[in-house]
Symmetry: D2
Subunit: 304 residues, 4 copies
Amino acid sequence: MNYTKILEEIKEEVAPLIGKGKVANYIPALASVPNNKYGIAITTINGNCYTVGDAEEEFSIQSISKVFTFAMAFKSIGEKLWQRVGKEPSGNPFNSLVQLEKENGIPRNPFINAGALVVTDSLIHNNFNPKKSILDFIRKLSGNQQINYNTEIARSENEYGHRNYALAHFMKSYNNIYSEPDELLDVYFHQCSLSMSCVDLSKAVLFLANHGVVPNTDEIILTTSQAKRTNSLMMTCGMYDASGDFAFRVGIPGKSGVGGGIIAVIPGELGICVWSPELDEFGNSLTGVKTLELFTTKTGVSIF
Amino acid sequence: MNYTKILEEIKEEVAPLIGKGKVANYIPALASVPNNKYGIAITTINGNCYTVGDAEEEFSIQSISKVFTFAMAFKSIGEKLWQRVGKEPSGNPFNSLVQLEKENGIPRNPFINAGALVVTDSLIHNNFNPKKSILDFIRKLSGNQQINYNTEIARSENEYGHRNYALAHFMKSYNNIYSEPDELLDVYFHQCSLSMSCVDLSKAVLFLANHGVVPNTDEIILTTSQAKRTNSLMMTCGMYDASGDFAFRVGIPGKSGVGGGIIAVIPGELGICVWSPELDEFGNSLTGVKTLELFTTKTGVSIF
Amino acid sequence: MNYTKILEEIKEEVAPLIGKGKVANYIPALASVPNNKYGIAITTINGNCYTVGDAEEEFSIQSISKVFTFAMAFKSIGEKLWQRVGKEPSGNPFNSLVQLEKENGIPRNPFINAGALVVTDSLIHNNFNPKKSILDFIRKLSGNQQINYNTEIARSENEYGHRNYALAHFMKSYNNIYSEPDELLDVYFHQCSLSMSCVDLSKAVLFLANHGVVPNTDEIILTTSQAKRTNSLMMTCGMYDASGDFAFRVGIPGKSGVGGGIIAVIPGELGICVWSPELDEFGNSLTGVKTLELFTTKTGVSIF
Amino acid sequence: MNYTKILEEIKEEVAPLIGKGKVANYIPALASVPNNKYGIAITTINGNCYTVGDAEEEFSIQSISKVFTFAMAFKSIGEKLWQRVGKEPSGNPFNSLVQLEKENGIPRNPFINAGALVVTDSLIHNNFNPKKSILDFIRKLSGNQQINYNTEIARSENEYGHRNYALAHFMKSYNNIYSEPDELLDVYFHQCSLSMSCVDLSKAVLFLANHGVVPNTDEIILTTSQAKRTNSLMMTCGMYDASGDFAFRVGIPGKSGVGGGIIAVIPGELGICVWSPELDEFGNSLTGVKTLELFTTKTGVSIF
């Protein structure tokens, strides 16, 4: 199937949405991204790549990074990870402290901030050089050695990241963070600052559409069962407090970031990434969600 | 594929779990069900049926009924239904009032009690005789004209159902219930009291594995898109506060009831129902969940 | 001390506030009360009475009734009452269900709706004819045999009182309500519907300023210790979610109702009642609170 | 009145309670305090001092310090303080984050940890050398120049104080903390570490029993109105989540600390401090609360 025409159609249809969301503005480096950027990239398991718009332009992946650090931790720690983080949708905004307090410092799932902090903490705890490891992992998945951290964004996040510091200290008070909050946040803000393009991300997520195996290198990242379970988690928890609506409208596993990117997979077929910086009220790319809804509707692909 | 051997294997493997859960005891009629009952039934789209154990014995379907009343309401009201009920996992126990209060009387989704009350209220609002309509619908889906309400259970539920009365009055205070609470609860407790077997339920859910169409009669219950969306909802919200864990371990859409039944579908292939009365801490059948986990693992079926 | 001049002064000073609050409008009978009604009555322990404005006009006492039913229950049941209701400020709006759920159906204190329902339930449980008993008690305290229920208001409350029904059913699900919700709510809506004037109420509350003894009859309603404790409860819990602000600004024990009345006592000296129908955001009389603040400031009376 | 005999009586009566509470153990320096320490000191406005037991032994005042830093801030900032902190009982444990999140980073009152951090932050913001100022203020109030910080305890608090760091960062994310969390916590942990005896504290609190004026020096710390309001705040919010129960049983304004101390005042008469290290479930001195209950009962003093 040649997806180019469908992607062009979708681009045209969603154009009127540009201007109806709000670019993340909690740090200057994100606030300055032009609101009308828009790109889609699809990479299929058999290696074809289809793009439209600004698909090769780098943007800040932010919370999309949670999928990759989770995969690293799940691979190395396995089921023991669940002693420190849950698997349930949170039913609350992504950086909520309420649930964390009720549940004794165990975050609901690895895709909310608190859970991602625990995941990154586990990488630090098991790893000599987490910043290097994360970068190596991402470069390998996407086959792009030029990918790098945006240190200006990482520094900005650190300056305005008091809520994440609060989460880290709070979980540490429950002994669910092992490293020092300062060190943890340094790694975490770096992973969020990764600059990648839609093309990079559509490749990087492809192993989740392929039973855990990177298609062109045959490297096994996760077992079949682990890959399926990671997709289940994205399906139920990947879009913050709008995960149910995304599952309802789009019907495939996905993960968003406040930089305006969304990655998603159609199991057995392809990885997809869409980027549009304006966010909806839940912190997901407004046009990005619509793009993926149109994509599954037009192609008729569905897991159900 | 002949599923009989796999079902026999599973039955043997889960046997040690019997005795580790707790039969629902909030009404006498449920408390008196023997804890060691166990049945599975599979009905495939092409009409084959495979069973093991007590698959033909009737039990109280309880919250499984929410799927059927939801399908009736979704069919007749369509997207307008979402003005009165959400699509998000609740992140709270199934009869919680907390979220309802924070969110002005709009329940999180149609598969928690509050949401199911809104769904049933919409049936009453649009329908001359809701108790008859629900029964007709269920009989048609399962092809069994003998299915009936268990009025003793309905009466018992009414007597001990103060929390459901509280939910109804509470939502009515937000104008999100139109009928009188007494009338609404009467219909609701009847739908929960439906007595059906695993075989009945594996047939009744089959339209959701077949794009909304009942296979042997070709009757269209829901559109393809509506059926897909109903499955998404079951995937994210069907197992109360353990929906994420169920998605993670089992990986298919399902819905449980405190009578110990669970229905699930493998899209494009089959409907399945398992029954084992003992519940886990989340109110889902302990052995039932394990049964479905083993089923997807052994058959390798997966939507991801 | 002749309070007439101070009351006249206060009346003048608060006049500009009329129009800045909002008359309760959840039932027609309350909504139709003119917003500019204003009265104060003071009755001293030695029997003097000072009034200004509409101090002899009857209004709906609403939640002020909670003080009187509490006194009846405290007198007859004593400390056992605390097995069913707490003594802590709720920190939440007066008809919140959230806390009730977290705390297993035990309301925070007797002056929020849930707690008052438990109090009234205990009167029903211990009493042959609660509606008659409550009326007799109020008439005796105020020395006015003409006081009566406003049955139109009671009927209205019943029609719009779904949240109170929700509270009753919810607590009954925790076995903390003994009577049938319909019966309980009938008594409760009647006690709220009592029509009394500022003069009546300033007399009725006087026993709490006099160590539990009605001054002119020497009848002991509560022991010294019980009266002191009731005042403590009013001080910490009497003004819904603005109890701390009231204690801070006014500094004496008081209890408000959505009819716009507030009663308060200066221990050892007097009972006071102010009435002004417009409410602030917390459901307390806007001008009433200011009136009492000016009263304690101008007279210099203080318990601290 | 000579209080010595009453204090001796009380000491005897409460003796059986020793062993029924739990010494704070979250830092080693507190955990090592002998559980059977017990002292009371009363200082009257006219300068008499009555003691019993370990009334001259220093202990860690902990949250009692919140009253003194509040008085400093209230004096220098006045009513503007209320833009950053509320006056309502919290209805939640003393270090809860839940309410803070619901209420946009504005703590409920100055006597819970979050509120005390805002108060201390305001001192830092307005003051050249907060640690010195606080120490000077305390020494002046108690007339004891030997009072000092316990730097070992301050260091310990810092090491185990992740929840307080979480509170500070969390409020900073709402722009309700101006200083750097590290600096703020350093001052805060120092104020909590102050070592004082019952005698010191009964003198230090005396200005609140005397309309804001230190009796023996006539120095005006707060205006009459401010002192009255501070007492109201202690009455409604001074004992964490048991403020209502303390008001009910004891009936006077008080403030506790996890070191086992409680200060209280009888307006117009005296300041009192009791110390007994074992805490009840709410974090208040178990024997201390009982001591004060017996004191108000036996002396018959009451503000109501």
